[in-house]
Symmetry: C5
Subunit: 86 residues, 5 copies
Amino acid sequence: MILGTIRGTVVSTRKCRNLVGFKLLLVEPYFGDKSQLFVAADTIGAGIGELVLVTTDETTQHALDRSAPVDAYVVGIVDAPPQLGK
Amino acid sequence: MILGTIRGTVVSTRKCRNLVGFKLLLVEPYFGDKSQLFVAADTIGAGIGELVLVTTDETTQHALDRSAPVDAYVVGIVDAPPQLGK
Amino acid sequence: MILGTIRGTVVSTRKCRNLVGFKLLLVEPYFGDKSQLFVAADTIGAGIGELVLVTTDETTQHALDRSAPVDAYVVGIVDAPPQLGK
Amino acid sequence: MILGTIRGTVVSTRKCRNLVGFKLLLVEPYFGDKSQLFVAADTIGAGIGELVLVTTDETTQHALDRSAPVDAYVVGIVDAPPQLGK
Amino acid sequence: MILGTIRGTVVSTRKCRNLVGFKLLLVEPYFGDKSQLFVAADTIGAGIGELVLVTTDETTQHALDRSAPVDAYVVGIVDAPPQLGK
């Protein structure tokens, strides 16, 4: 999974019907290339600046109550930034 | 999901029968390496210059009415460029 | 999907039985890092130098008549190089 | 699969119910870009500093007893660092 | 698929039960970033120094007799290094 920080929201009025009901969050990778921001769907309610855990590709479907065209999904809010070596 | 800008269309007369009926759009990533353009299938009707939301890999199938060999699919037109921090 | 140019063929006599019957083509990405050549299976009959459309990962299976261990598959031959902005 | 070294743990109290019961480990890639740390779920019991084998995307599901939104999973602890050429 | 050269083997005594029976080979990409070595499962019997064809992600399952947590699998031994343009 990817660790990332929520940097904003994305609004899409004209969208695929199966995407209705998901909040769309802009995620900045915590590790690696921080310029590679991506969009993750969320129903946990993560806020701007929070550190989250995102699963990707088809594995997102195992967190959803119904199938949806979502390749990145917030599966947890991380309690504290990871401490390397602990 | 990937945020991207529509930069053009791709025409393929000799193609796989399951690909017939999809518009093929050239997408430039909004974040990260802008040289990594890719092709996404579209039925929402996104136009050149519009900012779109693209889902990838097998998750595309959850937006389609029939299965198709499509690993990138436009699932929404974004209302406005994202504001970081909002 | 990935746009790529056919640069050669790959021959593999000792191979997995489900791979028999596919032509194996060496594809150079049209956009991004051109050193990242990869191999795609093909049954459309694309030739050396032709510009093709390749789908990847499990979505390849939606173009095949039988399941096969193929993570890149040629799904179309592109009529002309894409014109950015048109 | 990815070879990686366990560098820490990630704690997420507010998380998706299907993620409960998995230890979440911070993994540093052994080869390639070491800055691209990611999070893998684990039930084998790998410890900090150990070299592990991680499978990704939907293939994680073939190691689990129940489906879970996990796109990286520890499938083995490696006996010794690999010797190139042996 | 990825073209790669076998550079070594990986031994993992403490591993997931579904991984038992597979040889684990260290693969160096033939094209692109050669530092990005990864591990592929093999039952064809590829040896050190041989050039192989590797399929990835869930498509590996279409080469296996039983499902396994394997995201890279050797599906062929390549007869000769590819000749660009032929």
